[in-house]
Symmetry: D2
Subunit: 329 residues, 4 copies
């Protein structure tokens, strides 16, 4: 029975608590949150204790820590939890500063179990797509297209602290690109615009952005992100290979089709990322729990989180300098 | 060069004239129509002569006759054209009286080339479905579902002369059932209703009708017909077999999909039967022309037209008597 | 907190136990099963007691009883549980003998809360279809097509006790027909065959069966059932109305599409009914729990279960007598 | 009756001749080809004369000239035909040298009727998509994704003379980008690779290439091209706007779907560009003929062809210099 401490009782923290309740091999021991009422509520729903975050990191009766606190606290909590030998599952992004990420990784004992929450890798549809690539269904991967559109832009206050569209939103797609390319991108071209809300542009960010990545062997990935999608949460991947192509289609609210004089109408897409990725979040946590129990290495790793952040930084630099940015290897 | 005479210059006659123009092995020599202006117009468009229908049936400079005149004239024109050795392509239905059909077939010389215009057999989609059945893609055929809905009901004046929904409309599906079952149905159950327009019911006909057919070996076909479809001309077939299932999907006006807050919208179906089946009509005529030129037997035959009409009669009888009707073999 | 007793710890019983665990307003108190090991296992997984079925029906510390035992025990357990004022959720079919169903219903106190487990009504897709009908999306319902195919036939030993394909399998579709027609069918035509396995025919049953139903106002429903579907668990509904048509599409294993020289390939359908209908089973139980807690009447009722069984009997009679069977109202 | 002369009797020339035969307002008078047998064959099939290309450009009995000869002859034939007042429809690309294009346009009399053969604009599906944009179905265009994949690479000998993947293949997508953006792109980022055939890379070209374009107002278009697609001729467009998104789906060989244990299989895409775009080629020529007869200005114009070529050059430059290339306006 893996004993888990949870840092952060926001939306993701609540999802994790629910996933723990459904996993017979784990138990939620304690939770922490800067807002005490949030911690108290979640604790009572799951028969867990409320403790201080530092206390959880250091506790003897806890085996693993889930970190769902604000991004700028990740590094400190990782280091604290690692110090007392905890296994760690941390939400993305690792940190907005790649140098700080590198320093953190350098300080960790090699035996530290550290996984990052790129939950899309655990989505059953993207997962089935990856499995078919691995089975050779399309031969060698050549070109990838990722489309990722949020139903709406977050508040400007969030945008301001987010690290920008590449680090905050596209980082999921940048990780997915690495996951599906199975080879490190070496060059990045990016463009951005504020088409959804001029205020986002005035805040120095983009709400619409595209990237082209290329690996050393020439494989190419295009990513298109928008903070707007009137028809729901748009999440697609398409991989073109030497023997065929694979695509992961979107998830609709239901499977009902209406036909009338206007044509044929299918339901909009699931609108909320927690609903869309609920099975992924649960599978992600199951993977972490199983890996810790089996002393195997969970994935995606801290190194994966570092590379995704490096790609996000490179994209931002390309969009600002009008140059192809090459990544250190 | 096959020299063709055309009886009937209505919609189907015009389609046939166009198909002849696109076929390098045939030439339209003469046309006839009860409405002289129709004949004159079509003749001038295709450099053909206007002649009397009887004269076309008897002409020395004509090899084949296409019959697209009212149903009650079919038998006489078939007999007249056959008498002078013409190859014949006649529109469905053969005749509304199966006894008269049998007498006509009995009078024909065995060498007579006689084909009937069940054009759906030549539709590229239904044709591809049939080809896959023949190739064993689904093993043994077990159960078939046919759905056939017109965009709207014809005028009551047409309904009155039509022979009823089974003989006028469902006869296409009854032929398709025989085509796909590849075995003769032996029993028929039918139900009907006037749901679209009570006046159709008052005229003694149905506008909504269903049939279940079964063959001696147990294979089953369900057919559903309606004189209404707000979303276009609905024409589907689905065949379930021991190793899989095949379906022929509908034809939309275009391939554009719109996504917005209402969901995803595809175009309505092609609305007009001539547009929907234009490639089928052309392939049908090409098949007839090629068969005549090669002295092979075109299909569907007069016997096929007889069996379809027998099924239509059986369906009507079942709907009226509330009994399963068994067909003579 | 609704205190629940569970009779029958087979597949459905296990599903119900899991649904109770996820419902904050209910608690599983006791379970019973003819096979004691099954009861013991389920009880230990859910912190419940093992008791005798009669004891559960009579218990003071239990508010509601879920009946998932063999069909021939349903009536006795319903009467026993009702006697001590329990709310009851019973699996379909009520009983294979409609007279016995009527007697049972006659014996129940009018205040008895009795619901039957036609879980498809709670499927999110069929439910959304029904909601759109109720909202007038397609005007008046005219014609319905239901297709229902199991991935494979059950063992012959099961077939022998099942009551036949109409009462065992098609009963779900007969209930769905009533649910979607929103009007009582008055006439039934049926055909059947043993196309999947001749042994099923030798056992006096069909493995392939079709039905046509009609209501007093003329609405028509066609149902097609097969004990075979090589591509998964096929469950579709299509409703055609005066203003449009609705269809509930199938559920695939995943949303990945592969394109190669053979064409485009989507995943097979979910194969197992418990996986396909898991959300439906949970919503069904939530509905029951909420109704009992709110003193409202849950649906579908005992009367619904009776009408479905009457339709199954009528279908069997039609298939055997080759006549349209009319139902008493 | 528009009297047409045709320069070039290759595949496109033959398509144009067929389209003329189906247009009642035009007549093919004369054809020319460097290979005399090709000219003779096409002339005999269409009752046209064989003449020298220069003679056709200068002829008194010809109103319009269609140019389907090798790219490096386009400018000379355009100038010659324009000199004698002919209306001109020329295949893409205008010329591989944008300076030469500009000089040609400068020499033309402003009254010259000059249209270019970007036939995709006339495809019914892309056309319906454009119509819906114009009708405001998706509000303001924000982001576009174009995917364009040929079933296979052309011979190396063709590659060598082609001007490279951007000018030869992607030029269609670059034109489509301008057509759908409805605003001039001002910046271009491009990447390329030889993933299909290393020999293409050795010949200095790419077989896989991507581009990102941006307009002055910030609108973005991504294009992905490959010389390989195992599943047919892949031609898609997707436009995301402030109020919704539009996509033009691919054209399959037929509408038959097979379900079995491997899943659901749709037919491959139409494989050959002439089959895929046959309706587009005919509509393109009809548009040209109608414009000439009505003294209206046909579109796309010489200026459109120039801008597409400028984008192709910019893309090549970006791929080679690793910089965003800005276009002169």
């Amino acid at each position: 029975m893996l004993r888990i401490g949870l840092l952060g009782c926001g939306r993701i923290g609540q999802v994790h608590a629910q996933s723990i309740a459904l996993n017979r091999d784990a138990k939620l021991v304690a939770v922490a949150d800067a807002i005490e009422a949030s911690a108290t509520k979640l604790a009572s729903e799951h028969d867990a204790e409320v403790r201080d975050a530092s206390a959880i990191c250091a506790a003897d009766d806890i085996d693993a820590v889930l970190i769902g606190t604000p991004t700028d606290t990740h590094v400190d909590f990782i280091l604290a939890a690692a110090k007392s030998g905890k296994a760690i599952l941390c939400e993305k992004p690792f940190d907005l500063d790649t140098d700080r990420i590198k320093q953190c990784l350098a300080q960790l004992d090699p035996s530290t179990v550290l996984m990052f929450g790129f939950q899309r890798r655990f989505d059953p549809h993207f997962g089935a797509l990856k499995t078919q690539i691995n089975q050779g269904a399309i031969g060698d991967v050549e070109m990838i297209n990722l489309i990722s559109r949020d139903p709406g832009a977050p508040p400007l206050s969030y945008i301001a602290r987010s690290g920008g569209i590449f680090a905050d939103m596209m980082i999921h797609d940048l990780d997915m690109a690495r996951f599906l390319l199975n080879e490190e991108p070496v060059s990045v071209q990016a463009m951005g615009a504020a088409l959804v809300d001029p205020a986002i542009g005035e805040a120095g960010d983009f709400d619409s952005a595209v990237v082209q990545l290329q690996t050393a062997s020439g494989k190419i990935c295009q990513i298109s992100c928008s903070r707007r999608a009137t028809y729901g949460y748009d999440q697609r991947a398409e991989v073109h290979g030497s023997k065929g192509a694979l695509q992961a289609k979107n998830q609709h609210e239901n499977a009902v089709r209406l036909a009338n004089a206007d044509g044929y109408r299918d339901a909009p897409l699931m609108n909320f990322f927690l609903e869309r990725y609920m099975p992924a979040y649960r599978a992600e946590l199951d993977h972490f729990i199983e890996a810790v129990r089996n002393n195997s290495t969970p994935s995606p790793s801290g190194q994966d989180a570092l590379r995704a952040q490096m790609l996000a930084e490179a994209a931002l630099k390309s969009a600002k300098t009008n140059q192809t940015v090459f990544l250190e290897q």
